[in-house]
Amino acid sequence: MSTITTEDVRHLAQLSSLQLSDEEAQNLQTDLENILTYIDQLGTLDTTGVEPTYQVTGLENVWRDDVVQASDISRDTLLALAPDATENAVKVPKVL
């Protein structure tokens, strides 16, 4: 049985950029414990000397020539998707 503390949930939420309500954090604590308990069973499998598989078709880096390709999507179209934009820039609150 994996144990997840309230502090763990807060830490994971922070790592995940999620500002959770207290109620949701509490519910997630139970859910995460149950999920971790389930996936913990994999720990019993002996994988000594086994290489991990990250990519199943054996591809490694696939390069294209480093040349500029024109896009048919305009800057205005993309800026229009931003919740707040001004003078060809996306606006955000103060960083510091």
Partner: protein, 467 residues
């Protein structure tokens, strides 16, 4: 059930028209509103495209292989005509500036997208109950789930609203709803079709496939979706060659770990009846053992959340998507926009991903799962030396009740237990209708084949028939 070839033939001979086919499909969609399978209709654009195709036919111009055929995309495919929401508040008003490569390819052959179907938000789930916009109901029993995450696309196909619909499959999201709604659904080999322009979930297993009411239609649609895309560097050169040839006397293994007492009896009965049909067709079906199959779900729920946490980091409320109002700092803007824009299941998976990737746990979870994945792939490779194809039920149960599993995420995850092994290995797999249980709920079986055996897999499914 309407076949794609029937529509193309009606439209190109002008016995009907693309406009008439699209109008009829839109009307069927409106009549079936109570199922909540569709989040939006793209009527205006669809009718414009239909008129263009009709004009080409009248002018005697050459038209594509899918001229005038209406279809539906899962609402995580970027497509014009309505917002691409991924069934989330995060993308509720997101109007895609481009279309997915496979949507462009289908349109180039004359197919017409009439609407966008419901899913679990960001494709996280196995029942379409995690949609931010309400649950989709099963095509055969409205008190049951549609399955998921591509539940809406399965239901519109089963209800014969359109002859085919697109889905995405990361761990079973096409195959399991296909099983629950009695239609065919394919997860192609990893890399066979482009993912460009589809909302990414887990990049090492995401594949784009489709639903249809016959294996022949699956083959036709996949032949158009297949192939290399410079915008998705994981795509393979097109190897998909549709065929109706099935070798005689195939050796097929039934994975015994998927036929134990944890699997509902009605599912085992349906699977056994399908095995009898395979034998009657002259194939040999014998028991095969995959000792790691029961551990695949634990591997999946480490690897996929890890990739989810990374892929969903882009939703920060800055350049597109939902932005929380009144945030005073950038950190608050990120945190609150993501809290508002994601459903609980998205948050669970992101946080599990953060956990298994965090320092101190990385080796024990993420690295261990990727090593276990190698062993699972080795098991498949060994079995495919002995067997041409492998068989299992698609899901351990028929469609379950709406609300039945929502309070227990682990129980919900178990609906994926049969489908995740093929996803982790990247091999193709198809869910095939295999009859009904006593409550008239459909049950599907899954056929899995070696890498790039997609065409042979579909041909085998086609040769056994629809029911």
């Amino acid at each position: 059930m309407t076949k794609i070839s029937d529509i193309v033939s009606r439209v190109t001979t002008q016995a009907s028209s693309a406009r008439a086919e699209v109008e009829a499909a839109l009307e069927r969609a409106q009549t079936a509103e109570e199922y909540h399978a569709l989040l939006s209709l793209t009527a205006e654009r669809a009718l414009q495209r239909a008129d263009q195709i009709d004009a080409q036919i009248t002018a005697g111009e050459k038209v594509g292989k899918l001229a005038g055929v209406p279809f539906v995309v899962k609402d995580n495919y970027l497509a014009f005509g309505a917002p691409t929401t991924a069934a989330s508040k995060m993308l509720e008003n997101f109007n895609a500036p481009l279309q997915a490569t496979v949507v462009e390819k289908l349109e180039a052959e004359g197919a017409i997208c009439i609407g966008k179907s419901n899913l679990d938000a960001f494709a996280h789930g196995g029942s379409t109950e995690n949609s931010a916009f309400g649950v989709t109901k099963n095509a055969f029993d409205q008190s049951k789930v549609a399955g998921g995450s591509s539940g809406g696309s399965a239901v519109v196909t089963a209800l014969d609203i359109v002859p085919f619909a697109l889905g995405s499959d990361t761990g079973g999201s096409i195959r399991q709803p296909a099983s629950f709604n009695g239609v065919f659904g394919i997860k192609p080999t990893y890399g066979m079709s482009s993912r460009y322009g589809v909302v990414a979930m887990a990049s090492s297993t995401d594949v784009m496939g489709c639903f249809a009411t016959s294996a022949d239609d699956i083959s036709l649609v996949m032949s158009i979706m297949a192939g290399r895309d410079d915008k998705d560097m994981t795509t393979l050169p097109d190897y998909f060659a549709p065929t109706s040839d099935v070798s005689s006397g195939l050796k097929i293994g039934i994975v015994k770990e998927t036929m134990n007492e944890d699997v509902d009896e009605d599912v085992r009965v349906a699977t056994n009846s399908y095995i009898e049909k395979l034998r009657a067709a002259g194939h040999t079906v014998t028991e095969a053992s995959m000792p790691l199959a029961p551990l695949a779900l634990a591997m999946y729920y480490i690897i996929v959340p890890a990739e989810v946490s990374s892929n969903l980091a882009r939703y920060d409320g800055v350049r597109f998507g939902r932005r929380a109002e009144g945030a005073m700092t950038l950190a608050e803007l990120y945190g609150r926009s993501r809290d508002e824009g994601f459903v609980t299941e998205n948050k669970r998976r992101i946080m599990i991903g953060s956990y298994v990737l965090s320092s101190g746990f990385f080796d024990a979870y993420y690295q261990q799962a990727q090593k276990a994945r190698t062993l699972l792939i080795n098991e498949f490779n060994d079995l495919f030396k002995e067997y041409d194809f492998l068989l299992s039920p698609t899901a351990p149960t028929a469609a379950f009740g709406i609300g039945e599993n929502t309070s227990d995420p682990v129980k919900m995850y178990l609906a994926d237990v049969m489908t995740v092994p093929a996803s982790l290995a990247g091999i193709p797999a198809i869910s095939v209708p295999a009859g009904f249980n006593d409550h008239h709920l459909p049950i599907g079986v899954q056929i899995m084949g070696p890498m790039k055996s997609d065409a042979a897999l579909i041909a085998l499914a086609a040769s056994i028939g629809e029911q």
